[in-house]
């Protein structure tokens, strides 16, 4: 009965009720949207590399190793000898490895020398494998596979010739212009540093450095033809490895950290990534602050609209009083109306948000590199909604009291 009266009262004031509902829906949409972005930006960052058990490089800080091996930022302290790499890669516990050789660039984009294992085993996000937008993985020594951003920004496509430069500056003096690489594949967007990278075979990197940049290399390794008798590189910059069993992760990490041959370091990429994210906690706090302000604006706005509506409701108050409703009943009536509006607003805002995420998720990903899955409520978002409900009751207390006092004046 009580609920029915509250609903009928709201229906009788359709105009202002709909306006309030819209305001709350928009606020809930923004509130949950920001929370979703905060949560998923964190998850997206944490899974820049997934499925890789350890990253191995020369002894340095764990973040430095992560930055240069995954994000291509900064410089390695030293290289790893090919012999040490092979020794670890051939160990019983190791299932696969992805060697990484850095040092060259093309128009400011980093070039990574690696093997086919990169396309086979590297995964990101929720264990998503790399996919090709065009073409396929490199086969020949001088084949190149571009990250999606490189292809878009430089306007390259299949068959384009790419001349690598020694070092990282976009205007390097030492160019390996004796042997251009040919684009054979373009990767689909990943939202990770892979998008900004040019991938070539380790052999290609070795070949262009083999006899100095001006020496013709055709005789050394025929272009675009798989090489079987290629001499092994002397060293690589780092490598990622996957284990046969996750249970051996800490053991293998310890063995690598104590590797007798040379000073090596193995890091848990997931741990290093979350450590890196923690340095960005201010970013999360800013988002939380924005959420709090949006919440405040929405709740205060609803309180104001309800307060204003009390003025229009003198007749209703009179009628209800004549029917025997107590002032407390009227107090509860306004609170109930606020609660109904709030719950409807949550429902509407939530449905709109998840529909929007479902429809625009891919577009947001390709534009901003963040996956915004239409996932169910996270515990933090659920807590936020509870806070919104409580704040609504508090904000509605002012118009409710006004209603209460008005009712008491009518005897």
């Amino acid at each position: 009965m009580f609920l029915k009266v509250a609903v009928s009262s709201l229906v009788s004031r359709k105009g202002s009720a709909v306006m309030t509902l819209m305001a709350i829906s928009v606020a809930i949409f923004v509130l949950l949207g920001i929370e979703q972005i905060r949560q998923q930006a964190r998850e997206s960052f944490a899974s820049t590399v997934s499925g890789v058990d350890l990253i191995v490089g020369a002894k340095t800080g764990s973040l430095n190793l992560l930055l240069y091996s995954v994000f291509r930022i900064g410089s390695p302290t030293d290289n790893i000898s090919w012999q040490a790499y092979r020794e670890i890669a051939d160990a019983d516990d190791v299932a696969w490895t992805i060697p990484i050789s850095l040092g060259d660039s093309h128009k400011g984009y980093r070039v990574v020398g690696t093997t086919e294992a990169f396309f086979k085993y590297f995964s990101f996000g929720k264990k998503r494998r790399l996919a090709f937008y065009k073409g396929e993985a490199f086969e020949g020594t001088f084949d190149a596979v571009l990250g999606s951003e490189v292809a878009t920004a430089l306007g390259y496509s299949m068959g384009t010739e790419v001349i690598l430069a020694h070092g990282l500056a976009s205007a390097s003096f030492t160019k390996h212009d004796n042997q251009p690489f040919v684009v054979v594949g373009v990767l689909a967007p990943t939202g990770t540093p892979v998008d900004h990278t040019i991938h070539v075979r380790l052999e290609g990197i070795e070949a262009i450095h083999a006899g100095g940049s001006k020496v013709p290399i055709g005789a050394f390794a025929p272009a675009n033809r798989p090489t079987t008798n290629f001499s092994e590189p002397e060293s690589i910059t780092a490598f990622m490895l996957g284990l046969k069993s996750r249970m051996s992760t800490f053991n293998v990490q310890r063995q690598i950290n104590e590797f007798a041959g040379e000073p090596l370091m193995a890091i848990l990429p997931g741990v290093a990534l979350s450590e890196l994210w923690q340095t960005m906690s201010i970013f999360e706090n800013v988002l939380r602050l924005i959420s709090a302000l949006v919440l405040l604006a929405a709740v205060l706005g609803m309180g104001a609209v309800l307060l204003a509506s009390i003025r229009e409701r003198h007749q209703e108050i009179h009628l209800l009083r004549m029917m025997g409703a107590s002032p407390f009943y009227l107090f509860c009536l306004v609170e109930m109306e606020a609660l109904i509006l709030c719950l409807l607003g949550m429902l509407l805002g939530g449905v709109c948000l998840y529909t929007a995420l479902f429809v625009t998720g891919d577009a947001i990903f390709s534009r901003f590199g963040i996956y915004l899955d239409a996932t169910l409520l996270t515990p933090e978002a659920a807590l936020m909604l509870v806070v919104v409900l409580l704040a609504t009751l508090v904000a509605a207390a002012v118009p409710s009291l006004k209603m209460y006092t008005s009712a008491r004046n009518i005897t």
């Binding site: 800080g61 900004h196 800490f250 310890r254 534009r367």
Partner: protein, 240 residues
């Protein structure tokens, strides 16, 4: 997508300023007052290794010589043999299958190196040890003297176990009176549900030694992570 790179440049600087000095290489750092807890989970199997500086647990890092020191080592072994007093796993029930406590670095027992055993032998040895452990759990209250004998068996078992590591690791774990000594315990557990762990709560037993913090590292199907447990905040959320 440029956003990400733009975001990463200041991030790199931040990392250099705040983070690079921190070493999160699990199990490598000997820091008094701090212990490591390494948790690996795969399916229903969970393995937990607890490493701590002997200094923080018993107050000395050399081989136990005095009666008081030997008693302290025995007490430590007894505590480490009962993981339920050290930590509680939440999310699913996990049964202890095996516990291997290694205090060889402070018992002063340095046996002549023996040939490394085959894995099969080692597995049998662990199975036998498992039986001993179960028996030990049943009779713990009544048989204090048996308990000590058992611990000696335990130590021998872990000695053998350690010797095997020794061969892999260039003698890192060999007791050395002149260097820092670590004590470790490895627990093998079987859980009721797969990948259902949510939190690990460090218990009074683990924190009563005066450890300032325990660095918890985990590798599991849902990802890798690390967090710190302190006496003030003893619960670590493994789903961070």
């Amino acid at each position: 997508m440029k956003t990400r790179l733009k975001l990463l440049s200041p991030l790199a600087v931040l990392a250099m300023v705040f983070g690079c000095s921190a070493v999160w290489a699990a199990g490598d750092v000997h820091e008094h007052g701090a212990a490591d807890l390494l948790l690996s989970s795969e399916g229903k199997d969970v393995q937990i290794t607890f490493n701590a500086p002997a200094q923080s647990l018993v107050g000395f890092e050399t081989a136990a010589v005095t009666t008081q020191q030997k008693t302290a080592v025995e007490r430590l072994e007894a505590v480490l043999s009962e993981p339920s007093a050290l930590f509680v796993l939440e999310g699913t029930f996990c049964e202890l299958i095996d516990a291997v406590v290694d205090v060889s670095s402070i018992t002063g027992v340095v046996d002549a190196p023996s040939p490394p055993r085959e894995h099969g032998d080692h597995a049998e040895e662990r199975a036998a040890h498992k039986g001993e452990h179960a028996e030990h759990a049943d009779e713990h209250a009544e048989h204090a003297s048996d308990h000590i004998d058992h611990d000696e068996d335990h130590a021998n078992t872990s000695d053998n176990h350690e010797r095997e590591h020794h061969n892999h690791n260039d003698g890192r774990d060999a007791p050395d009176v002149d260097s820092h000594s670590d004590v470790s315990a490895t627990y093998t557990l079987k859980c009721d549900s797969e990948n259902a762990l949510t939190r690990i709560a460090l218990q009074h037993g683990a924190l009563s030694f005066g450890l300032e913090r325990i660095d918890v590292f985990w590798v599991a199907s849902w990802g890798q992570g690390a967090d710190q447990a302190t006496p003030e905040s003893p619960i670590v959320n493994l789903r961070n």
